[in-house]
């Protein structure tokens, strides 16, 4: 009989600790949700912003044309100006 009462006392002491620990886990889990939602929104916006990356191909083409024109201009300068 004495042992049962001792176990009851132990249970009474453990129960609040258990509730506190579980409440902490739940609070942490709840705090993660809005952050994940925010990250999802930012990732979606970033993905949408990267739609313009395709234009880099056009930029590459333009730069190639510009450097080609520059080379032609340099050739003309090479012919027009005397060497040092």
């Amino acid at each position: 009989m004495a042992a049962l009462w001792i176990m009851n006392i132990v249970l009474l002491a453990v129960a609040p600790v258990l509730v506190i620990l579980l409440a902490g886990v739940l609070k942490s889990a709840k705090s993660i949700v809005p952050r994940v939602d925010a990250i999802a929104g930012v990732a979606a916006a970033a993905s949408k912003d990267l739609d313009a990356v395709v234009v880099l191909l056009t930029t590459q083409n333009y730069i190639s044309q510009v450097v080609g024109s520059l080379a032609n201009y340099g050739g003309s300068l090479d012919a027009a100006l005397p060497d040092a």
Binding site: N8, L12, L18, V19, V33, P82, A84
Partner: protein
Amino acid sequence: MSLALAVMIVLIVLVIAALAVFLIATIVQLVKINRGLAAVISSVGEIAAKTAPVNGVLDAINGTLITGRNLLEGLFLKKAGDDAGGLVESVFPGEGAKFQQRVGRGGPVHNIGPTYPRGAAILASLLGTPPPAAEAAAPPPAHGTPEGRIRLSPRSPSGGVATAPPPAPAPPPAVAAPPAADAPPPTPGRITLRSRAAPMISAQPASSPAQPGPGASGATEDASVPGRASARGSRPWER
């Protein structure tokens, strides 16, 4: 049933109930996190797919730009010689030493300044106009080059000399001026590297009339500024 046993059972039920409530709530939150991460992963996957070709494209662009830069620097070194570093330093202060280091040349870098007499002489000879008046009035020590050119670079770090092509006649002390020249420009005989996009040559009006060089009439189309030979007028795309 004893009282102690009943109390124990009640306590155990309460503990199990607390465990169940909090664990179920935690599971619900973890499910929400899982859904959110799934949305994040899909967006990140799109980002990765869209940025995959960026490295190759940027490398190609960088390669093209480096090729153009090397081409222009090589041409610049070929045409300016030892004055190249000084010219870079004069236009972009602090960049002359970096330029010298990049092209593998040593030695100190001397700032050419806002004017480059050798360039002025070359441009004047190309335009068929007389050289700048300052050069003609006080000619630096001139040396004939194998091509028969005259170097006019008194401030060159190498003591160097500018060259003038053979078609340009030897400048007399009195510089030939266009017929419409009746007022001296603010800075006669100077070519600026900074102030204008198109190079301009100012010729000091002569006291006695002289015949301009060949092609001077075509080069002095800028009639709004007397005594100024401009390369702008001979460029059809700027009209």
